[in-house]
Symmetry: C2
Subunit: 198 residues, 2 copies
């Protein structure tokens, strides 16, 4: 990854990079992962396909980087409110704004579906998006352990991403409606907090 | 639904019905929901397409009924072990046998993906599979409330399906490996039990 990132930074400006990622996200929302082609990205951004491949290596890498770029809000490791509940609430509020929650969820569902059939995309998503998010969450949890809010051997420490994912994916299948920030806060108090404080 | 069920029962034997559902599940595993055609079901089961449509109404209805038929184990409402943890453990053990957990998960992921783009399939799955499963789970939870194991106003009572779903869908994305029965039991003790006993 380092060499790709170095190459990329040496050739295009951050503004140009952001513009390109925005175009990729627009295309993803429009046509979905499978139908998104490097030709379409090249056309939409007035780049050559050769440039795209040289800078990002492959479509899965480009898409994962674009999603990372579009990830909303500040890192949850940044929000240090002094309490576990405060930090988790801050994470939910920043990561899931009601005005874009469904748009973001639809984007991630589409890419998640594609990742199931595409090991390279799954690997890129895990490396660039999922593992860094889990690591950020861990910073917040480790602070709570240090404050004595969570027992260091609580097995729920490793299961916070699973709990969150359950809340995020269940709207359509279980409740037949979209997930809202209000629902996520209810879930935080009813599920995450009791499990982490056990 | 009642009229469809009545018509079906009056025309074919339970053995023939089971044979047909098994053929639908085999086809689903082989080609997935989108590529599954009523023609292929008719050919595999030596039925006419007209018969299939008369008995089941539509492909989403037929697929949802086949999945319901293939649902493993006894109803979780049946397992009355005398304790909440015992009942939930019984549910996990019966519903998720390691030898078929990945096969079942792959089938449900495929159908879940299709349901997102197909409101009729989503409605049929919710009506025939998801809502009955939630109702069964509720029987088990109500017994625990009656025994005094769960406070009647505990908000986690409505969130058990969400918690379970999180554990089931997270294997590939979060942990990069298949979900096992052992993992589900860990999750039960670390997440569901503390939330329900809070």
């Amino acid at each position: 990854m380092t060499s790709v990132a170095t190459t990329r930074r040496s050739r295009i400006t951050p503004e140009r990079e952001a513009e390109l990622y925005d175009a990729v996200l627009d295309l993803l929302r429009e046509v979905g992962y499978d139908a998104l082609t490097m030709d379409a990205v090249a056309a939409a951004t007035h780049s050559s396909k050769a440039t795209l491949y040289r800078q990002w290596g492959s479509k899965p890498q480009l898409v994962a980087r674009a999603l990372k770029h579009g990830k909303p809000g500040p890192s949850c490791a940044v929000a240090d409110t002094g309490s576990l509940r405060g930090d988790l609430l801050e994470t939910v509020v920043h990561a899931f704004d009601d005005s874009r929650i469904e748009q973001d969820a639809a984007l991630m569902r589409g890419v998640g579906r594609a990742a199931h059939d595409n090991p390279e995309l799954l690997a890129a998503l895990r490396e660039l998006l999922i593992e860094p998010s889990i690591a950020e969450l861990r910073v917040l949890l480790d602070r709570a352990v240090a404050r004595g809010e969570i027992r260091p051997d609580n097995p729920a420490l490793d299961l916070v991403p699973h709990m969150f994912l359950g809340a995020l994916v269940s709207g359509e299948l279980i409740d037949g409606r979209q997930v809202t920030q209000e629902f996520l806060v209810t879930y935080l108090d009813a599920v995450l907090m009791p499990a982490l404080r056990a």
